[in-house]
Amino acid sequence: MPSVTRRVLLGTTVSSLAMGSVEGRADDTTPTISAAPAPGSPGAMDIALQINGNQVPLVVDPRTTLLDALREQIGLTGTKKGCDRGSCGACTVHIDGRRVLSCLTLAARVQGKAITTIEGLTSGDVLHPVQAAFLHHDGYQCGYCTPGQIMSAVALIKEGHTRSDAEIREWMSGNICRCGAYPNIVAAIRDAAQRS
């Protein structure tokens, strides 16, 4: 399956690149990407976020969402922006182990909390079992909703909401897939839950 090869490639190289860039910037107190307000500009806040185990200093506008900070300032683009209004789940991350929506979270409000993004699920080149299950069951088509689906699924399995397919569907209802890959998503989660 050539598409799997491409996805494996994307899944590992993009995320390790992204991780590299966080680590690269972790010691640099002035992120250079343009989305950050100039240090000292009115309202700018010096903050530090704990992302995937790394302490990341940042300068943000108080209005900056965690989603925009991740994507535009830190370079972790695995977390996706779908609706930016809480309705799709594409931006799902974990904060202190709970699945939440980064589009409705102000970055300045989550200092001192452990933030995990899709890039932080893997250790080295080994996929997280839920990532592997999505790959095995082809739990996506375009892949745009997939990071959010996987982050949500990892939390769902930990919550124990996998006793039936109906329960999986209900507790995954905050993650919309416009491609309609739902049957394969449910199969992947059922499989990963049984192995965990």
């Binding site: 009115p42 108080p62 809480g86 939440v100 909401h161 569907r169």
Partner: protein, 324 residues
């Protein structure tokens, strides 16, 4: 989103002090407020973060349940004491929004979420609730989702909270804290009808905060249910919902508590249905009679007449669930 200053007080007193500044607004889970900020529907100049204030405890004993205003919806829903003593609250919470939103959203914020009226949420339209005096395009426009009870010539928007419907049926009290101290009000008095001031939705005073919600323990609360009917199976607001609590002895209804959502401009108590059930037998014929008067006084708009019948049927079904 307009610029604001973010303050992060770490005590109730500090939060109340910060909220005294003109243009201040509390932010709890942020799940509704962030949407409203992004769309310039709310334009506070000072955002007072309640995260470090505490107020997140959930306590229950033989007489009462107390939910801190900052308790997360998901934490209240999994709490074993809440599940045992107040199942309608659990069911209302679990039927709300999505798991991610429930992990963020709080009890206090939930009660104060704004209406889902599409005109209110789009600054391209007039809306008396958003901009007093500008008009209400819903009355002669898209009104399939609007209220059939409690509306006025100025606004017919529904209150969207599921939790508030369960709390209204169960006679909850809301605890408020302001600079002048604490007061407790029945939830039935907390929400106002729109009348000619639809922009004023509750009796909350400027700078005043919800600190807790309390609900009595009772047989009706222990045997309570929440039925939610919507356009899709999950992750959707209610078209019509019904919270019911039934206290029965030997097949006779001693006490019935009922409230409806999706139909009123505020969570809608159904006292006439409660009266029709009191002292009657637990049987379908009684439920049929009582539910037939559930929509009394309704005045639907052009597209939402169906809610009248849906409400009657939802009451009937909810009564069956509570007596099963």
């Amino acid at each position: 989103m307009q610029a604001f200053h973010l303050s992060q007080p770490n005590s109730l007193d500090a939060a109340l002090a910060a909220a005294r500044s003109h243009g201040a607004k509390f932010i709890a889970g942020g799940t509704d407020l962030m949407q409203l900020l992004k769309d310039n529907i709310e334009v506070p100049t000072e955002l007072v973060d309640l995260e470090r204030v505490g107020l997140s405890s959930i306590q229950a004993d033989a007489s009462e349940l107390r939910l801190g205003a900052m308790a997360r919806m998901s934490d209240a829903a999994v709490h074993p004491d809440v599940r045992a003593g107040w199942p309608a609250i659990v069911q209302a919470l679990e039927a709300s929004a999505s798991p991610q939103v429930r992990n963020m959203g709080t009890i206090g914020g939930n009660l104060l979420q704004r209406t889902r009226c599409g005109y209110f949420r789009d600054t391209g339209f007039a809306c008396n609730k958003r901009e007093p005096g500008s008009g209400c395009p819903a009355i002669a426009g898209e009104n399939r989702l609007m209220a059939i009870l409690g509306g006025s010539d100025h606004c017919i928007a529904t209150h969207p909270s599921d939790l508030a419907v369960a709390l209204t049926a169960l006679d909850a009290m809301v605890t408020l804290h302001g600079i002048n101290g604490e007061r407790r009000v029945p939830i039935a008095d907390f929400y106002r009808l729109p009348a000619d001031t639809p922009h004023i939705e509750t009796i909350l005073q400027p700078g005043e905060m919800i600190t807790a919600v309390t609900v009595r323990a009772s047989g009706a609360a222990r045997n309570s249910h929440y039925l939610k009917l919507r356009d899709r199976a999950s992750f959707e607001f209610a078209l019509v919902s019904v919270a019911v609590g039934l206290d029965q002895r030997d097949g006779v209804i001693e006490h019935a508590l009922l409230a409806a959502g999706g139909v009123g401009t505020r969570p809608w108590r159904l006292p006439q249905v409660e009266a029709a059930l009191r002292g009657k037998a637990l049987e379908d014929a009684v439920f049929g009679d009582a539910s037939s008067i559930a929509a009394g006084g309704a005045s639907p708009a052009q597209q939402n007449g169906f809610k009248r019948i849906l409400l009657q049927r939802a009451v009937f079904r909810a009564l069956q669930m509570a007596s099963a």
